[in-house]
C-alpha cells in the first residue's frame, strides 16, 4: 500500500503562484487575496490566457508572485491599461489588482470610467484603510477618527472629509455588472471572497461587462497591532463602515452557476 492510498491531499499551494516568498509583512492578507485569485485561476484552467495588471503600492510586486503574464501600470492607471489589453486581445482574461491608495485615490478616474464604459475587465480592490507601502498614511478609505501617520489625532471629517465607499460608488454605473464587497478576516468570509472572485472572473469570461471585488484587508504593521488583533479590528471597525454584500449583480450574472 502506498502513501497515496492512505491519505488524501486536502490543500496544496496553487500552481498559479510562483515559488517566490512574498515581501508582505507577516499576517498581511494581501497574501490571502493572492492565493484566492491563484486558486480560482487554477480551477478555471485559465492560467495560459490570463494577463494581470499590477498597481503601485504594496501590490506592486504582484508580477513576481503570480505565475502568469503581468504588466505594471503607472500609479492608478491599471484599469486604463487593462482596457487597452482587453480591447487588443479580447480572448484573454484581464485582471487588475489594486490597493486603496492606487484605485480609490489617484486612480479613481480610471476605474470609474472603465466601469462606466462597461469594459470587460475584472478589478480586485484591496481596502486596508491606509497607504500601506509608504508607511501608513491616511488614505481615502481611512475611517473617521482612525489614527494614521498623517492623521495622528484621528481622521477629522471636518477638514479631511469622509471615507470613499468604492463598491457602492462603482455599483451606480450602468456598465458595471458585478460589484461586491467581501472581507478576509475569517475562514468563512475568505471562502465567500473566493466565490466572489470566481463569479467576477466568470462575468468576464462570458463577456458580461465590468466586474469588481472589493476585499477588506488588514495592515498589521501600519495599524500597530498583531495580525490576530488586526482581524478583530477589521471586523469591529471596518465592516460597520464598509458593509459586506452584493452591490450590483446584473441579472445575467445572477444566473451563472459555478
Amino acid at each position: 500500500m502506498t502513501l497515496a492510498d492512505m491519505e488524501t491531499l486536502v490543500y496544496a499551494r496553487p500552481a498559479s503562484l510562483t515559488e517566490m516568498p512574498t515581501h508582505y509583512c507577516p499576517g498581511c492578507t494581501h497574501g490571502v487575496a493572492h492565493r484566492l485569485i491563484a486558486e480560482v485561476i487554477d480551477e478555471m484552467n485559465l492560467r495560459e490566457r490570463t494577463i494581470g495588471v499590477a498597481s503601485v503600492g504594496c501590490s506592486v510586486f504582484a508580477y513576481n508572485y503570480f505565475d502568469f503574464d503581468w504588466v505594471q501600470a503607472p500609479h492608478g492607471r491599471a484599469p486604463a491599461m487593462a482596457t487597452g489589453i482587453k480591447r487588443v486581445l479580447p480572448d484573454r482574461l484581464v485582471i487588475t489588482y489594486q490597493g486603496d491608495g492606487d484605485m480609490a485615490s489617484i486612480g479613481m478616474g480610471e476605474v470609474v470610467h472603465a466601469a462606466a464604459r462597461g469594459e470587460n475587465i475584472t478589478v480586485f480592490f484591496i481596502n486596508n484603510a491606509n497607504y500601506g507601502m509608504t508607511g501608513g498614511q491616511m488614505a481615502p478609505t481611512t475611517l473617521p477618527g482612525q489614527k494614521t501617520t498623517t492623521s495622528p489625532h484621528g481622521r477629522d471629517v471636518e477638514t479631511q472629509g469622509y471615507p470613499v465607499r468604492a463598491a457602492e460608488l462603482i455599483s451606480t454605473l450602468e456598465g458595471a455588472s458585478y460589484v461586491v464587497r467581501r472581507s478576509l478576516h475569517d475562514p468563512k468570509n475568505i471562502r465567500l471572497a473566493k466565490k466572489a472572485i470566481r463569479l467576477a472572473l466568470e462575468t468576464q469570461v462570458r463577456g458580461l461587462g465590468f466586474s469588481m471585488v472589493e476585499l477588506l484587508s488588514i495592515c498589521p504593521t501600519n495599524w500597530g497591532m498583531t495580525p490576530v488583533q488586526s482581524l478583530k479590528w477589521l471586523e469591529e471597525h471596518m465592516i460597520p463602515y464598509f458593509p459586506l454584500g452584493d452591490y450590483k449583480v446584473h441579472p445575467a450574472v445572477a444566473e451563472i452557476k459555478v
Binding site: 492510498d5 491519505e7 488524501t8 491563484a38 475569517d186
Partner: protein
C-alpha cells in the same frame, strides 16, 4: 473517531504570523520555538495530536505555506455486503 490529518509547513514561506494558530478549530497549532527559518521567523507547526486535516489553517494562511493531508477512511462495503 474524527479523521486524522497532518500538515506540512514550508519554511520558505512561513512568517510566523500565527493566523493559523488562532484559526485552528482543534487548537493543535503553535509556533516551533526551537527552530528559526532563513527569514528569521519561528515557523508554525503542529504542537499536539488531534489534527483532523480540515484545512482551515491553509484557508487563512496568507503565504500559501501549508499543505494539508487527511487520512482516507475506507467505507466498509465488504462487511455490509
Amino acid at each position: 473517531m474524527p479523521p486524522k490529518g497532518r500538515i506540512v509547513v514550508n519554511d520558505l514561506y512561513c512568517k510566523g504570523c500565527e493566523l493559523c494558530v488562532a484559526a485552528c478549530p482543534q487548537e493543535v497549532m503553535g509556533l516551533d520555538m526551537s527552530r528559526i527559518t532563513t527569514k528569521g521567523y519561528h515557523p508554525a507547526t503542529l504542537i499536539k495530536e488531534g489534527c483532523t486535516g480540515c484545512g482551515v489553517c491553509a484557508v487563512v494562511c496568507p503565504e500559501a505555506a501549508i499543505t494539508v493531508y487527511r487520512e482516507v477512511v475506507r467505507p466498509r462495503v465488504a462487511a455490509a455486503a
